[in-house]
């Protein structure tokens, strides 16, 4: 490096900041926020703007966190797109159509998510089929089952649920009329997954799994159980979002989850998780989610053609992937030269 004049300490602490993969994501977030703050003005910077993008961020963020863990571990999960409606439909049928107490329906919905996650994880761990294909398969299967059971049991693809006030308050109200409670749940998920990935020893297993599955197994990491666990977490989180949606909008739709598939992956990638696995962080995923949601909602405050939003997101995604690769190269380079 050309920093011969500086002392070792400055170089390494500077290097440490630049080396962080989140740095690029954070720069992107600041840029996007500033851009829409200028165009959107006080409404975007005030409560309406914040609530608007935070409501979006909370839902996609809850799904993106475990997807991020899976991507760090080198896997994908497409099935979230149909786990979300499957979960809300299950809860709506159990509690709305058959009239059982709301918590029972909710447990049923979450159970569906865990079950689909288990099947995904089991298939990924025990076969050599790429997880992309497996989870596309389970996505279609779950979608078909949801549709089939909804029509069979209720005779409709849309089922409504009016929950008791406490359940509604916890899972589906707007605080101050604007901020969906889902963002507090998101914060909870962030805390748990941060602990899992960065503090507990399991985080190390996830990085190792994504770095080199074979070596991870040889090192004694229970890779099959870990994979199954991560998919169950992903299924659970998607099911939880399904429940949040059901209680917020008081009805379950069969085809409500598809946008989450790509949106969650985009949040994760914009947040600096490597597509090849092995690197990433929860802070990055949160930044990626915020960036994605700001673009997604900011466009409506900006006075620009809403279709522009997709262009923005596409460009951001490509920029993120490019800078991820750049950061990885830089990381290894700085790490080598530092001796």
């Amino acid at each position: 490096m050309s920093t011969t004049g500086r002392d070792q300490k400055t170089q390494s602490s500077l290097g440490n900041i630049v080396r962080r993969p989140e740095t690029g994501s954070f720069v992107g977030l600041v840029f996007v926020f500033t851009f829409f703050a200028i165009l959107g003005g006080p409404i975007f910077v005030g409560a309406p703007g914040w609530s608007s993008w935070l409501n979006i961020a909370a839902e996609v963020g809850i799904v993106a966190l475990p997807i991020g863990l899976l991507m760090i571990a080198g896997e994908l999960d497409i099935s979230v797109g149909s786990v979300i409606p499957a979960s809300s439909m299950t809860a709506a049928i159990v509690s709305g159509h058959f009239g059982l107490a709301a918590p029972i329906g909710i447990l049923g919905g979450l159970g569906v998510g865990l079950l689909v996650g288990f099947i995904n994880g089991y298939l990924v761990a025990k076969t050599k089929i790429p997880s992309l294909i497996i989870t596309i398969g389970t996505m279609f299967a779950v979608m078909g089952l949801t549709l089939g059971f909804a029509v069979l049991l209720v005779g409709s693809t849309s089922v409504s649920l009016v929950a008791d006030p406490l359940t509604k308050k916890l899972l589906g109200t707007f605080v101050g009329g604007m901020f969906n409670v889902s963002m507090f749940w998101w914060a909870g998920f962030v805390a748990i997954i941060f602990y899992l990935l960065h503090i507990s020893p399991i985080g190390n297993w996830i990085f190792a799994l994504g770095g080199d599955r074979e070596s991870a197994r040889n090192a004694g990491i229970p890779t099959a159980n870990l994979t199954i666990g991560l998919y169950m977490l992903s299924g659970f989180a998607a099911a939880f979002v399904g429940i949040l949606q059901l209680l917020t909008y008081t009805s379950a739709q069969v085809a409500s989850g598809q946008p989450f598939i790509f949106n969650s992956i985009m949040c994760v990638v914009i947040g600096g998780v490597l597509l090849t696995g092995g690197a990433g962080s929860v802070v990055g995923i949160v930044i990626g989610t915020a960036t994605f949601s700001i673009v997604n909602q900011g466009i409506f405050f900006s006075g620009l053609d809403p279709n522009m939003g997709s262009i923005f997101i596409g460009v951001l995604l490509l920029a993120a992937v490019l800078s991820n690769d750049g950061f990885r190269a830089l990381t290894i380079k700085l790490s080598t030269k530092k001796s």
Binding site: I199, S200, P201, G203, N204, W205, F207, A208, G211, D212, E214, S215, A216, R217, N218, A219, G220, I221, L274, G278, A279, R328, T331, I332, K333, L334, S335, T336, K338, S339
Partner: protein, 260 residues
């Protein structure tokens, strides 16, 4: 050489996958502080043999003896717990993880209690750096550095140091020098000698005869799943070994015919 204790022994081991016989009647002994070089061309069954030793495969017939007692491994983890460690060609390390994290993958040191365990980064880094430096790799001094920034030889050394640290008594090195340059390979060979000095039983797989001759005490040549030759240090010349590895063909003649 025969006064040292035999650590691991294979007795009449056969391995077949369905109708395909891969290993026939393998008999091998490795003593403590001794390097057994397992030589063989591609497809000779070297990988199957070491996977059988490491618990990935179970022998179809025959037995594995550890310290004279018959053992069976259902899973690689069991073999590891009994002190059999395998280091693979690409180091068994994780390029995008720090040295400390990579060193302790799967056996993380933790602080805290109950379900709230915290990965102890400081301890992990200290132990990892010390373990590697004890093997003579003094260039590694910061446990936060990424493994991807190390040279191939350093990665191998890290993996070997890791295996030894976690109580390996039998070290299986799967072509550790195959992808390395001359200097890096020499580096790894020194580490192998250090492991030998510490009394480990080392099984060194290679198809580079020079590397084998630099560290080996004992040589076994595998051809089509059977041991074609088994001899001690200095009993055969480099040319003879190369001929054996090529399946009995005369390499010298072959080389001569190519030169024409």
């Amino acid at each position: 050489m025969s006064d040292k204790k035999v650590v691991i022994e294979l007795r009449n081991v056969d391995k077949s996958f369905g109708p395909i016989d891969v290993l026939h009647n393998i008999n091998l002994k490795v003593r403590e502080g001794e390097v057994l070089c397992l030589l063989g061309d591609n497809g000779a069954g070297k990988s199957t043999l070491i996977k059988t030793l490491a618990g990935v495969h179970q022998p179809t017939r025959g037995e594995i003896l550890l310290d004279g007692k018959s053992v069976t491994f259902d899973r690689p983890k069991q073999a590891q717990e009994m002190g059999i460690a395998t280091v693979h060609q690409f180091g068994g390390t994780f390029p995008l993880m720090s040295i400390g994290r990579s060193f302790f993958a799967g056996v993380e040191p933790t602080k805290g209690w109950g379900p709230f365990k915290v990965f102890d980064r400081k301890t992990a880094n200290e132990i990892a750096v010390k373990a590697v430096q004890d093997f003579g790799i003094t260039r590694i001094d910061d446990g936060d550095r990424l493994v991807g920034g190390l040279s191939g030889g350093e990665r191998q050394s890290l993996a070997i140091a890791r295996a030894v640290h976690f109580g390996a008594r039998v070290l299986i090195l799967d072509e550790p020098t195959a992808a390395l340059g001359v200097k890096q390979a020499a580096h790894v060979l020194r580490i192998v000698n250090e492991a030998k000095r510490r009394g480990l039983a080392v099984i060194f797989i290679t198809h580079q005869v020079m590397h084998a001759m630099a560290v080996g005490d004992h040589f076994a040549v595998l051809i089509r799943g059977a041991i074609a030759a088994d001899f001690g240090r200095g009993e055969k010349t480099r040319e003879e070994i190369a001929d054996l590895m090529a399946g009995g063909e005369n390499m010298a003649e072959l080389e001569a015919s190519i030169k024409v």
